[in-house]
Symmetry: C2
Subunit: 514 residues, 2 copies
């Protein structure tokens, strides 16, 4: 990095949200801009009173936005600069971050060292990479697949890039699902069951990014999830568990930056996936971790061999990081539970906790199975006894009491949220048996209907794989709040309902034991 | 692509130049924004009266910039939308362009088909790729090196992405240098020599992007270079040649988009380089092309083997495109000529044309050699006679007359530009012989001094490789207009002058015959 900033400019906050990319606005007639020979989209270093920030240049022709004597910063950049409006700031060219050399070596097919990964991740977390430089790293590491040692280096560097929570207990349990299965809200059942057993389960979750609901979105139907860290720690101490949004804690911030580039590109390589999952868990202070890999033709992981290879990398890297880990492969052929969307999924969870006869059986069974495996991390529990313990906690109502206590502690929502007003019933075109439900298509319909932004929007499944239907029977109901959303979900679901109706012998066999 | 735009917004032009990335500004309280569930940096499709544009979303909190009822477009996007302020526009989510599937297959190591390259380039030229998607393509094709058939497909698709000039003559000559050598302004000598010989040389050049001067920047010292296409064609018809800026003609526009991502990343793979060069030349209507590959330790191409391999790909793809091509490998161990920077390089060119005894010999010799090879494309010229013909045209003053006629036709600059006011003489630290001059470092010093933005800024070399110097002798003079530039060029040149002084036997041997 270098700079030959002559003179200074007055800082101005520009009310433009450029998300994770810092943008600096400079007027075309600004003397410094002209002297420095900046070009639009150049990367610029802005300094003020010892603080330094890198940002992408946008050139402004309108003095209402910035004058030639001012330097504007987009919202996030202004916050990060942490200087008042009017403060004197200097600008200079920013050179490429030095770790881009390592990225170029990776593009050339080299294996990178622990130090290379540390430098790259430090530069990414420090916002010294542009979006295109991050994309270069993401593609380079996706294309020349990282070996498991490199994945370990990457994960370790990502953990080190942010805060790390300490719970001061020998067993801090957590669970992660590889994803891609709509519904599947098992965490909201695991946490009350495990906390009722006495295990520490400080669960922090993300909001949905590409799915119709995340655990945080769904828990938010019932109570507050956006909690300051000190209150979270108090709740966990008292209740042994929580179900909160993890966005506040600055855990593995490089992961958030990488994801903001990976998602739009649709690139999610094995190495990046493992580093993303494990860095977040280690930073959150977990010691014991269960990972669920659902496998199915429309799940994220489609083949058993792929699941097994992913499992090996997870186990290797988890072990190197000092995690106690179990990886299980589950049936990912269709959504788990009936509801897809925050209100509908919260309903399913509460039905299971209430031991309601209408509760979705598959959600209950899967949650008990996962809970059982985690309970067996407890040294006092014999192998094989976990499932029965979990079932007893659920059947006795202790899990429900614990859930209510956690909801109250986090701040129960006073007025319950209701389902969206507009509905579409999607009907079976023929008689037969449901042989397949496309996870991806159902998630897409729920999103088009408005989930997760509209919490009451989504899809409620009336039939699952193996059920018999007559022509004209409703397969599922779509809920939408707005007419535009309704219209679009209607077009999408009539184009492709996501259901295949056939004969019982057409049902693909489960990839795993149920 | 899909859309469920409900309602419309009023178009507003936002005076922000976001270069090659379209940006759309929407207020956070805009009802459509909320209903659609857009996120900052989402890609949005904007439609108005049948026109459609993709842009990246910036969310605005300041109603002075846009109100909740307006939709703002950045400068270039507004121009591209081609609708008046206040026009009703609709917005919708933009899905990933379908050709991103092919990019993902390339990341997975596949060879892509002709149709894949066509679809990718169409989407890139149509601004349907985001910057990160373009970076993914650039890295994927750099990492899994394209085979020569793929390079041909890519080049062909790039030609088809824009306009194609037609000169209606059987021999349209052009020359391209791979670059990386400061000075080296041979095109400005080739064009008058070849045009005086009667060959058609409609030369369009770029401005400098990372170098201290391009042919267009240097020609601009003498005359207009930014000419409308019809005037350019008139000049070429009358003079047989021109030296203009090619930016107006929309030749291989996908190349410009790719370069805007490749340069900041510092990625320039062989396949991309070949496609970039040849697509521009074919689109410009060239039929006969000479390519100069300078080789040297601080040139773009460092080793003879690399130059040979590049030459083979150029020859193969050029042949498939129907070009008559010669590729020559030249000595790239040091700058060609004395001046580095527009005014200084224009001076060198004019000295050679005027047959001035002070003219830099190496620039004269190299230009004659290149001109000779191109003259031999003329079926009436015997092999080996080109050099003598070129020399006769230069020595007789016919090249100078032709250059003056071209300058007058393009619009001679009335007031000559002068050198920058501030100078630094960089002195030799010891006595001996100049054994090496670092092309990259000299280019960098000239840029820091202000070239090419300040046309009078740059570096004037007093000594070249092989020259004897005494300690304290000036090696070169830096010219800068502004004190900040002077200061910074001083720091850079005193840190590393770019010169190595040693013994005559330390001079590395030329990679090629002189």
């Amino acid at each position: 990095m270098y700079g030959n900033g002559n003179g200074s400019l007055a800082l101005r906050r520009i009310g433009i949200d450029t998300y994770r990319e810092n943008v600096v606005y400079i007027h075309r007639d600004c003397a410094i801009y002209r002297a420095e020979g900046f070009q639009a989209l150049s990367k610029i270093a802005v300094t003020s009173a010892g603080r330094r920030l890198l940002a992408t240049l946008n050139v402004v022709d309108d003095s209402e936005i910035v004058t030639p004597e001012q330097l504007g910063l987009s919202e996030q950049a202004f916050v990060e600069m942490n200087a008042p409006e009017g403060a004197r700031v200097h600008v200079a060219h920013a050179e490429r971050p030095s770790s881009m050399d390592a990225v170029r070596r990776k593009i050339g097919g080299e294996r990178l060292s622990q130090l290379d990964y540390k430098n790259i991740i430090d530069d990414i977390a420090g916002h010294r990479f542009t979006k295109t430089e991050i994309a270069a790293f993401v593609v380079a590491t996706a294309q020349n697949e990282l070996d498991r040692e490199e994945v370990f280096y990457l994960t370790k560097a990502m953990v080190a890039s942010g805060e790390r929570l300490a719970w001061h207990e020998p067993l801090v349990a957590d669970k992660h699902c590889i994803g891609g299965i709509p519904g599947n809200r098992t965490s909201m059942l695991l946490v009350p069951i495990l906390a009722a057993h006495g295990m520490l389960v400080p669960k922090t979750s993300s909001r949905a990014i590409t799915s119709p609901a995340g655990t945080a979105d769904t828990m938010e139907v019932l109570c507050e999830v956006d909690l300051p860290l000190d209150r979270l720690q108090l709740i966990v101490r008292e209740q042994r568990g929580c179900l909160a949004w993890g966005g506040k804690a600055n855990l593995s911030p490089a992961d958030d930056v990488l994801i903001s580039v990976e998602r739009p590109l649709g690139i999610d390589s094995r190495g990046q996936m493992v580093a993303s999952i494990l860095s977040k868990k280690v930073a959150a202070g977990s010691t014991h971790l269960l990972i669920d890999i659902p496998v199915g033709p429309s799940a994220k992981v489609r083949h058993m061999a792929e699941a097994q290879s992913l499992r090996k990398v997870l186990e290797y890297v988890g072990h190197r990081l000092g995690l106690q880990m179990e990886v299980i492969i589950t049936d990912g052929r269709q959504p788990i539970g009936r509801g897809i969307g925050p209100v509908l999924e919260a309903r399913d969870v509460m039905l299971v906790l209430q031991n309601d006869p209408e509760a979705p059986h598959d959600l209950r069974q899967k949650s008990l199975r996962l809970a059982g495996r985690i309970i067996e991390f407890d040294p006092d529990v014999r192998g094989g006894e976990g499932f029965a313990i979990a079932r007893e906690i659920l059947d006795s109502g202790r899990a429900l009491s614990k859930m209510n206590a956690i909801i109250d502690a986090q701040g129960r929502r006073q007025k319950p949220l209701s389902l969206a007003r507009r509905t579409i019933d999607v009907l079976s075109p023929s008689s037969g048996v449901v042989v397949a439900i496309d996870n991806f298509q159902l998630a897409r319909i729920a999103r088009y209907a408005g989930a997760p932004m509209e919490k009451g929007a989504g899809v409620d499944l009336f039939r699952k794989v193996g059920d018999t239907v007559a022509a004209g029977d409703a397969l599922y109901r779509v809920y939408a709040e707005y007419s535009a959303d309704e219209k679009f979900a209607r077009v999408l679901s009539s184009d492709n309902s996501g259901y295949t109706i056939g004969r019982i012998e057409d049902i693909p066999r489960a990839f795993v034991e149920p």
